[in-house]
């Protein structure tokens, strides 16, 4: 069953059309990768799902309900979380406060506490710095915090916009193994990545976006062998 379904989606920034007639589905239990060159419209698509952008045409359905015109906070409550592109941590607040705010839509105090402990297990560097204000973390640490914070809402759908950006290779591998574990525990994931090969190796299906339109889609392990995808995104 499709957890997220984008139908014929078009999004504009003023006169610029950033996404055109896009169809995309993420089924419950899947990891889906969205790849594409810079400016292809990947972040725009995720922002539209999080309801930060107006949809010009088409529709967005989540969990059986249309959310095309919902407010951003409403879709978070319905179970969509996003770790946005480029360290969008709350710089003035502490690491701990950032994580607690990640669980803003939840009411189960005990569950939140144990999830914070879990995040500290996944990212020990965050625990060492939990009282520090997030703005003083390194770029990579802020990236970890943004991912951990998105997970804190226990979303049904977790959207990660370039989670490996600015992280050292070893940490990148760790992030991908975390993604795999989360998925094994039941979280559906929509992943935007520049690191196409790694992302495809860790996902069930892949969509390729070019200039706002989907040009290829299919099972990741098949697309990994596709001549055209190989040429354009996997460095030959």
């Amino acid at each position: 069953m499709a957890l997220l379904e984008l139908k014929n989606l078009s999004i504009n920034y003023g006169a610029i059309q950033a996404v055109r007639c896009l169809d995309l589905e993420v089924n419950t239990g899947e990891v889906v990768t969205l790849i594409g060159a810079n400016g292809a419209g990947k972040s725009t698509t995720l922002r539209a799902v999080s309801r930060l952008l107006k949809v010009r045409e088409g529709s967005i359905h989540f969990d059986g309900r249309e959310i095309t015109r919902q407010a951003p906070d409403a879709v978070v409550r319905m179970g969509i979380a996003q770790s946005p592109e480029g360290r969008q941590v709350l710089a003035r607040q502490s690491v701990l406060d950032n994580l607690e705010l990640g669980a803003y839509v939840r009411k189960d105090r005990a569950g939140i506490k144990s999830d914070i402990a879990k995040m500290f297990q996944l990212f020990p560097r965050l625990e060492e710095r939990k009282q520090q204000s997030a703005g003083t973390l390194s770029g990579g640490e802020q990236q970890m915090l943004a991912i951990a914070r998105a997970m804190m809402s226990r979303p049904k759908l977790l959207m990660l916009d370039e989670p490996s950006l600015g992280l050292a290779p070893l940490i990148v591998l760790e992030i991908f193994s975390i993604i795999r574990n989360l998925n094994a525990e039941g979280t559906t994931i929509l992943l935007v990545e520049q690191n196409a090969k790694l992302a495809m190796q860790h996902s069930h299906r892949t969509y390729v976006l070019e200039a706002g339109q989907i040009t290829f889609s299919g099972l990741s392990h098949e697309l990994l062998l596709d001549e055209r995808v190989l040429q354009a995104y996997l460095g030959g």
Binding site: V76, P84, Q88, G102, Y104
Partner: protein, 316 residues
Amino acid sequence: MTTAQFLQNLLNGISIGSVYAIFALGYTLVFSILGIINFAHGAIFTLGAYFTYTLAVGQFGINGLLSGLNLDLQVPFALSLLIGAVLAGLVGVLLERLAFKPLRTRGADSLLALVSSLGVALVIVNAIQYLVGAEIYTFPSQVYGDIKPAIMFEISGQPVVVRTVQVIIFAVCMVILALLGYVISFTRIGKALQAVAENQTTASLLGISVDRIILVTFFMSGFLGGLAGTLVGTSFGIAGPYFGVTYGLKGLAVIVLGGLGSIPGAVLGGIVIGLAEAFVPPDYSAYKEAVAFAFLFIVLLVRPQGLLGRSLIQKV
């Protein structure tokens, strides 16, 4: 200046300064969320005083639509003070919905919000005049209960008089400041408020309803403004519908002095301006109002970001 005079001025300054502080915090809250100055804040200050007067006394003069009316509601003063502030908070909410939100959703320049709030201020002031006239209303001297009007003690043989009203005002302000500090720093809604102040997009990605936080902010701002109005009203009387204008301007001086958007800055700025006014020699008391601005001018020459403000460079 004798020790007794010094002490006298200090007490006067701290008392009125604490009112300036809670009043100015109303500006600060809205500014830190929306980046705009709410020019109707002074009018809300005035309204708060009239609301409380209506509940606690309710006896109107000879002018205006309500002339000669004696409501005689006899609501206990502490309760009137609270309800007056809550009503002022609700006016703040209404103000946001009528004057600020429509402009915001259209992406209008923030200068327009300023003009629109100024317009609302005029409407409020005129409405008050229409209803109850431009006369002075005073609270009965026993409004805070059956207590001595003043405490007197001697310092090196000279008398120091502390008006009980001043002590109560100071205490009320401290309680409110502590409460506000607690709410903003330690509660869920306070942390959400800080998140919205820092980045609205990020806040909404966390499931925080920015719209609701803005409403809460306007309520708190109006509450603080209305409360300050009542407190000043009990100390010096309600001097008419334009009562809040000078306080509105002084409040602006306070927040700029303390540093725009800084909560501790607004508190410090309020106390500093209260003290500066209190130490104006009696011969020059006619120029007291200018003191706040003279002080502001000097401080800004040395520290353009205000006493506790982040420097603009840091902010970017």
